[in-house]
Amino acid sequence: MSVPLTRRARAEEDRDLVRRAQNGDEPAFEELVRRHQQRVFSLVGGILRRREDVEDVAQQIFLKAFVSLRRFDQRSAFSTWLYKISVNECWDYLRKKKVRPLVYESDMSEEQVSRLDGIVSQERPPESPIDRAEARDLLERILEKLPEQDRQLLLLKEVEGFSVQELAEILDLNVNTVKVRLFRARARIMDFYRKRIALARSAVNSLRAGERKTSYESGNG
């Protein structure tokens, strides 16, 4: 049975692979790519939220890492150095592309509102894969409206599984600052979520009132 490597042992192996890659050993660099590709994908995905762009940007990140590897002095862990390159590349990409929030034409139906609210308030997982896809779609709408920093922190922590310590290293922030920002970001997403739900409910109610009025008028006429 294989025992999962501890973080320290992995870092030590990375150090050796980096030394070899710095001396022109391409298979050593390929091994580094293999070891870190999943985390880089998570990081890029957490920041960009556009699945179609993730692979391209991830390739670009490893290309940059390969080119700058000779200048890497190994004072920090390879993973930290690589994740910092990743974050910078993502921000460059967002700046260059001027990515705009997605615009959704349709709003939530009453059924969708109550389904999402049920999941969040009653701690009930969505029943079917279709429900799950629908709920994800609704969540994406809410995420798109959040400030960039809140969205990235929440997604990297809750969805992509980065620890507070990792986030502090990658984003050059104090650990305590990350915790406080995360806690406030949670309050903001929930505030936005509640407002969105209330808005959707009031839209449904006014639609119903309108329907009632129309049927009353047609009944009288």
Binding site: G45, R51, L155, V159
Partner: protein, 167 residues
Amino acid sequence: MNLETDSGACSAYEARLEDYLSGQLSGADSSEVAEHLKACGACSAALEEARASVRLLALAERSPDPGPGFARIVMVRIRTELEASREKGLWQPFVSLAWRFAATATLGLVLLVTYGVFASHERLARPAAPSMQSAEARDFFTTDADRVPANRDDVLIMVAEDNDGNR
């Protein structure tokens, strides 16, 4: 002083509530936060909202897997880019020489054309005053129909010239 913040929680407890939420607090710290939560409605409400945010975010989809061939693709791209930059480096002296030659030739052509245009303009703009030399030339080599004979010999010469011309 525990001021309320954006999250609604006491400012001194925000970071600890984040730890409490993810179960990162040790026994003593955890008990201390739990005691505070019993007494503080604002922090309890903020923690409830934070818990709901975990449930909400659990719906989000994780980033796609790179797939087994990703590392290979990266290495192929690295090799291609290196090859391209090496080739660029090999041809660079020739390319820059060619560019310099092209630039010099273009400059020469522009100068020639400019000179030609200016010269023709100057020629057209100059007044057509006959010079001394051209007047003399006309005397010797052209026939002037309005020439007035000065004496009898001149008349004979002009008649002879006319006869020669008509013949």
